[in-house]
């Protein structure tokens, strides 16, 4: 079976500065991979390059999703093809009503698939039921997107979007940052509910603690723009004990 995602010798720069210096990574359907690394190792750049953000220039290599290169695709095309990025810092959209935002996103996917736009009542029902699982209340749904949300609420709202969009590949960028223990549990439970054969995840994190909740199949250590070590979930514990010091030299 064709892997869901193949990253091949990926090089990318921001401005003149090379950040990714030859990433190789294959993710099969249903697998959960964690990328760990110190600050400045290129973790967030990797999430933006995968999701197609402007200003991140790919200077070499390729990224294939289901065997097709996605590098020429715009961010919205990638999303409709099944890519989802849960933002480290979800963006506030003052004046953009949450429900119409969620509906526009769901409909974009449906239109791409040649389906009819979702029925309004059916949609509201679906959002309410998924929101409940994530302890997202009516009031949050009524507000403008991310406006006035606490850090934890923003992260839960990201997972709600993921639940509604049912991506094939979810990239979770530092989803644990800014969360207290309770919020971390809600978010992780939400993510775990979405685990399945049809969904793969790339969990990007600085700290091991998230991986106690979202247990990965594989762990990769990113440092200075390259994956320096790969292993099973026990690699995360090793990093937790000995830190990232010395990892650079391991390559």
């Amino acid at each position: 079976m064709t892997p869901l995602l193949e990253i091949k010798d990926l090089h990318a720069s921001v401005g003149e500065t090379p950040i990714l210096k030859g990433i190789n990574l294959t993710i099969n359907h249903g697998e959960i991979h964690a990328i760990m690394g110190p600050n400045g190792s290129g973790k967030s750049t990797m999430s933006y390059v995968l999701s197609g953000r402007d200003g991140y220039e790919v200077t070499g290599g390729d990224v294939l999703m289901n065997g097709q290169s996605i590098l020429e695709m715009e961010a919205d095309e990638r999303a409709r093809a099944g890519m989802f990025l849960a933002f480290q810092y979800p963006v506030e959209l003052p004046g953009v009503a949450g429900m119409s935002f969620l509906r526009a996103a769901v409909n974009a996917r449906r239109i791409e698939a040649g389906e009819d736009e979702i029925d309004q009542l059916e949609f509201v029902k679906m959002v309410r039921s998924k929101a409940k699982d994530l302890s997202i209340n009516e009031d949050m749904l009524k507000r403008a997107v991310n406006v006035g949300f606490s850090g934890g609420e923003k992260k839960r709202y990201e997972i709600l979007q993921m639940a509604l969009l049912e991506p094939q590949l979810a990239v979770l960028d530092e989803t644990d940052s800014g969360l207290d223990v309770d919020a971390l549990k809600i978010v992780s439970d939400g993510v775990n509910m979405l685990r399945g054969e049809q969904r793969s995840m790339l969990v990007i994190t600085h700290y091991q603690r998230l991986l106690n909740h979202i247990v990965p199949d594989y762990v990769h250590i990113l440092a200075n723009g390259k994956i320096r070590r790969s292993g099973g979930k026990e690699l995360a514990l090793e990093v937790e004990e000995s830190g990232y010091a010395g990892i650079d030299d391991a390559a």
Binding site: G52, E74, A79, V91
Partner: protein
């Protein structure tokens, strides 16, 4: 300016008397403001000199059958039609009984003149060359909920139109009034005077959706009595060059004036929103939320002066203008001015010019939403700040389709 260069050409104008004669004399003496006139610095009228314009004249009575069809008006509205500057003879038939109408007489013209700054070029020209003059008076205490909609159509590009309207609300009266300008004349220069009595309330909206070659220069003067309320809104979306100029006099205590505006420009359009909010007495509020969106090589101007007189203590004057540029060639100028002579006031003003936020666009597109739709969602949100100010639902329903219509013809993501 030599008279031969002045447009419209008033040489064929019949004899005028009283207030109109004085206005004509001033107009002939001064003409259009030149480039050195500070309040017209951003909006130049030199292009008018290249036109050949004649003021419209009433040739026999216009009947409703002469009118082009109108769409998009609320069913319950009372519509007063003007065509090529001339009011339909039967237009005021069937007005609610609480509203008296008549042609402007010389006293009315003097009242209208007094609501605007003296010697204003648009007022002088349009009263001198007046094509129709209508006075509407809402009886004291009458609460008229049915919107009165003044529609100004026209199809003759060689014409200049000069309708003048004086609207008076008696003590405690309430009315809902809209102006909709949708002509293809050369120059539309409407003058509107509004006198809102003590305890009275006017809900007011203006839509400027003139044809692409039309120049629209409006002068509006508003006076507010004690405890009077104005919920006003101006939308400038059509025309080649448009200036919507409003002067508001808060002449007694505790009045509340909201006068927000949206301008939407593309191509080579030029929109100018100029307001002059004069707090003459204390304990009044004014609030202006101005939003502009400019595409292509369009230009937008907002000039907003808030003047607080020495004994206008406890004034609350707010004004915020924000412009959004969708293209590198678009340009927005803002000139907010506060002139405060009282010491116990809350006044705030601000003006920003910006572009769509790339981070917000990325967030939306990362959810599969196309860039074009993402842009339009953000622009709508930006404009809602202003249009949400409109309290009257009939007026909001009248305004919104013009905004969404403009959005629908936005080019999707051409400028990246």
């Amino acid at each position: 300016m030599p008279e031969s260069m002045m447009q419209p050409n008033l040489q064929g104008l019949g004899p005028v008397e009283g207030v109109r004669a004085a206005a004509l004399a001033r107009w002939q003496d001064r003409g259009w403001p030149g480039p050195k006139d500070e309040s017209w610095r951003f909006t130049r009228l030199s292009s008018l000199a290249k036109m050949e314009l004649q003021p419209a004249v009433a040739n026999g009575a216009l009947t409703p059958a002469d009118m082009p069809q109108l769409n998009g008006l609320p069913e319950a509205a009372h519509v007063i039609r003007f065509h090529n500057g001339v009011m339909v003879s039967t237009a005021t038939d069937g007005l609610p009984t609480a509203i008296a109408s008549r042609q402007l007489d010389d006293d009315d013209l003097a009242s209208l003149m007094a609501l605007l700054p003296s010697g204003h070029p648009v007022t002088d020209l349009s009263l001198a060359a007046m094509t129709s003059g209508l006075c509407l008076e809402v009886a004291p205490g009458a609460k008229v909920k049915t919107p009165i909609i003044l529609v100004f159509s026209g199809d003759d590009s060689a014409l200049s139109t000069h309708p003048a309207v004086l609207l008076r609300l008696g003590r405690g009266a309430q009315a809902v009034v809209a102006e909709w300008h949708k002509s293809a004349v050369g120059l539309a220069a409407p003058v509107l005077g509004v006198d809102i009595g003590d305890e009275a309330r006017l809900d007011y909206a203006k839509i400027q959706s003139e044809g692409a070659a039309t120049t629209h220069l409006a002068a509006t003067g508003i006076k507010m009595g004690e405890n009077a309320v104005l919920d006003g809104f101006q939308l400038s979306v059509g025309g080649r060059l448009a200036r919507l100029e409003a002067h508001v006099m808060l002449a007694a205590e505790k009045s509340d004036c909201r006068l927000s505006a949206i301008y939407l420009g593309r191509g080579n359009q030029h929109h100018d929103i100029t307001t002059n909010m004069i707090h003459a007495k204390g304990h009044c509020q004014s609030n202006q939320v101005i939003r502009g969106v400019l595409d292509d090589a369009a230009r937008g101007v907002f000039q907003g002066k808030v003047h607080v007189a020495q004994d206008a203590q406890k004034t609350d004057g707010q004004q915020m203008s924000r412009a959004l540029l969708l293209s590198r060639k678009a340009e927005a100028d803002a000139k907010p001015e506060l002139e405060i002579y009282a010491d116990d006031v809350i006044c705030a003003h601000g003006a920003t010019v910006g572009e769509l936020d790339e981070t917000q666009l990325f967030y939306l597109t990362s959810r599969g939403i196309t860039r074009a739709l993402a842009k339009s969602m953000l622009i709508s949100a930006f404009l809602d700040d202003a249009i949400d100010m409109v309290e009257n639902t009939d007026l909001a329903d009248l305004l919104r389709p013009h905004v969404s219509g403009w959005m629908q013809s936005l080019k999707g993501g051409v400028d990246g």
